[in-house]
């Protein structure tokens, strides 16, 4: 709850993203620059966390924002906020790079040219600003068992499957599945509780 006090709600930001994204349809360079200024850090941070290499992470940032610029029509503001869509796009691009880098083509499901689905934020999250969300997510994840947190991070940042995580952590597959599912449900409950 203390985070809610530290970071005031700013619902305007959400609609500003939608407005800026809408302006991209008109090839509005200024709108693009604003979107970049607002969200390039989180995109870069995510890509860097996944790829562990600054230059490749910047390539992903460039790729992601050019996708946004060129395919703004794929973002439907009626279906959900801009940030989750952008972060999912960034994660997909970064994981694609990671798989290419490690020549690990364990999945046929390549999302190289596919844009993510826009998802609606839960009611309890709709009016939160980015900074507040980040602090809450970090706080809630820090409260998980270290191995549970590790399993989720391996899936999210490295794109590993249940089996690969189990192998990496030397833990039973069932345990890993439970950790991940329970960890995510706990995160969800935590977000609901702190809204």
């Amino acid at each position: 709850m203390f985070l809610a006090i530290l970071t005031p709600k700013d619902p305007v930001d959400v609609s500003l993203d939608a407005t800026l994204a809408r302006r991209l349809l008109q090839k509005d360079v200024e709108a693009f620059e604003q979107l970049y200024e607002r969200h390039s850090r989180i995109v870069y941070a995510l890509a860097l966390r996944i790829l562990q290499q600054g230059s490749t992470a910047e390539e992903v940032v460039q790729d992601v924002f050019l996708q946004v610029w060129r395919n703004a029509r794929h973002y439907d503001e009626q279906r959900g906020p801009f940030i989750p869509w952008l972060m999912t796009l960034a994660r997909n691009r970064a994981l694609d790079r990671l798989r290419l880098k490690s020549e690990r083509q364990r999945r046929q499901e390549s999302q190289t040219e596919e844009l993510p689905t826009v998802v609606e934020a839960p009611q309890y999250e709709k009016d939160l600003d980015e900074k507040r969300r980040a602090e809450r997510v970090r706080a809630l994840m820090a409260s998980l068992h270290p191995q549970q947190k590790k399993a989720i991070e391996l899936a999210f940042f490295e794109g590993l499957s249940h089996s690969e995580i189990a192998e990496s952590l030397k833990e039973p597959l069932g345990t890993v599945k439970s950790w991940i599912r329970n960890g995510l449900l706990r995160l969800k409950e935590g977000l609901q509780a702190t809204s």
Binding site: I50, F65, R138, H162
Partner: protein, 266 residues
């Protein structure tokens, strides 16, 4: 446990991309059946997973990246603007044709208007000429009236009467000024016969001389007559009489009828 419940446990892992191939395929096959509950739960799970991105340590990309990206974007925006401006080219052509048509219409109208103006000018000139002519006539008439007035009032003028041969007709009166001419005045005069006018004659004193023809004239509708002979061919002293006859229209060189009025200088 329903069919949907069987897959509920897979939703979060699927959104995270952590399912192994067999489970992923099974879950996607279930989604393809149109399970709305799972689809809705997946939406929320996807949003939840996207929040994990905030776990990444804060970092900032280089300014160089922004510069490079903005350069690319501006270039593409310019290209897009070029494509957009390609359409107006056709519009420009259309407007050019529209402009040509408008210019043509204006030219035709201008030519028509110029011709109309020229006609107006010609009509105006005609009216002006008529007015000038009328004014000249009025001035001449005025000058004649002044001359008449002077002839009638100047002491140098000599008065003579022109009695009518027919007692039913009025007697005419005339004044002869040595410099201004002769003025003949009458009232209640009859109109000459059809296609005839009255003509004044001067009868020279010289024996055997023929009557000298003067101008022709006729009274107005009220029977009044004022006739001026500005430059008589003979001086007053060299004439013995004045006579008025009825002559064919245009006058005659010699009298063709008996004088209706005859008178000497008094």
């Amino acid at each position: 446990m329903s069919n949907g419940d069987q897959f509920r446990e897979l939703i979060e892992a699927y959104a995270l991309g952590a399912l192994d191939a067999d489970e992923r395929a099974a879950f996607e096959a279930h989604l393809a059946t149109g399970c709305e509950d799972c689809a809705k739960a997946l939406q929320e799970a996807r949003w939840l997973v996207s929040q994990l991105g905030y776990l990444a340590p804060e970092a900032k990309p280089s300014e160089l990246l922004k510069g490079k990206l903005m350069q690319t974007v501006r270039g593409e925006a310019d290209t897009a603007a070029g494509r957009v401006s390609a359409k107006p080219k056709a519009a420009i052509r259309f407007w050019m044709w529209a402009g040509v048509a408008a210019l043509l219409a204006v030219t035709v109208y201008s030519a028509w208007d110029a011709r109309r103006l020229q006609k107006d000018i010609e009509e105006t000139n005609k009216r002006a000429a008529a007015i000038v002519q009328q004014r000249a006539a009025l001035q001449a008439e005025l000058a004649l009236a002044k001359r008449q007035a002077r002839i009638m009032t100047d002491p140098k003028s000599k008065k003579f009467m022109l009695p009518a041969k027919d007692a039913q007709m009025p007697q005419l009166e005339a004044m002869w000024h040595p410099e201004l001419g002769i003025c003949v005045v009458g009232d209640k005069m009859p109109m000459p016969s059809a296609n005839h006018v009255f003509q004044l004659w001067l009868i020279p004193k010289t024996p055997g001389s023929k009557p000298m023809p003067m101008q022709t004239f006729w009274p107005d509708s009220d029977g009044r007559m004022v006739h001026v002979v500005e430059n008589p061919p003979e001086p007053m002293w060299n004439t013995s009489a004045r006579a008025i006859t009825e002559e064919p229209m245009g006058g005659s060189p010699l009298p063709t009828s008996e004088p209706m009025w005859v008178g000497g200088v008094s």
